[in-house]
Symmetry: C2
Subunit: 138 residues, 2 copies
Amino acid sequence: MIELEQILKKNNVKPTAMRLLVLQFLLNKKSAISLTDVEDYFVKSDRTTLYRTLKTFVESELAHKIDDGTGITKYALCEENCHCEIETDLHLHFHCKLCNETSCLTDHKIPNISLPKNFIAEDVNLVVKGICNKCNSN
Amino acid sequence: MIELEQILKKNNVKPTAMRLLVLQFLLNKKSAISLTDVEDYFVKSDRTTLYRTLKTFVESELAHKIDDGTGITKYALCEENCHCEIETDLHLHFHCKLCNETSCLTDHKIPNISLPKNFIAEDVNLVVKGICNKCNSN
DNA sequence: TAGTGTATGCAATGGAAGTGCATTAATTTG
DNA sequence: CAAATTAATGCACTTCCATTGCATACACTA
Ligand SMILES: [Mn+2]
Ligand SMILES: [Mn+2]
Ligand SMILES: [Zn+2]
Ligand SMILES: [Zn+2]
């Protein structure tokens, strides 16, 4: 678990006990998680602490926030060397209506969007809703 | 203003006084509006009525809901013959960080999104945030 | 005109994000 | 090591918006 510490330190986040645990939790998840998910798992910790832990992760570019349209903010760890850049890092997010899971399709980068004259793009959010591969095979 | 009635009737919405007024309000707006926008304009009407009016419009495909990432639901009238179909009707939405306005770029349809094997797309939300043409020229 | 269904208004609820402040833990400094 | 400073945590509270329940008013039909 020294590795966990390294990850945090690399991003200039002090490795507190709580942060290590939340990081581990995130690492184990293949799909994006909500604050409530973390809260339900770490029942003994305070919601605010968990909230701020996630916030810290996002601010230090360890994780990114996902607005999947459900109204509940999701979080997922960033890929190695991600800086959430619009051209290189931003990717498609998929929300399954059946299992209700949101996942990062990191291989599917946001396509180039042409905008009308004089519009400047600084951020893009692309969410596809539908049925995921797991639910589709049932 | 008989035209307004026609629009509502065409979509099987009974043309009450309130609905006609809200429809007119939407027609006059070039950018998307929030429930609070409507509420601020029609100060004498109840918020719930306005809320349900917008809901009715969305359900009868007269308008569409827009999740622009601000956390505040926006509404805009649909184009003629729109059925909010994923291939033909869904379009790009732009949110300006400066003037805080969200607009429908109806000429910019959602590009074809390739998904991994066995994923089914049923809905897509594409929002670009940045600086709009008006704010850019200042 | 009576009766039925829909629309409206008011009050209350719910869910989630975010903040203020006191307390505790960690770190720095003398 | 002890005192002082800084950072992290926990608890209570707030805010904001979406949504619902229910009573009343209105519109339309038989
Ligand atoms: Mn992602
Ligand atoms: Mn639109
Ligand atoms: Zn699924
Ligand atoms: Zn603008």
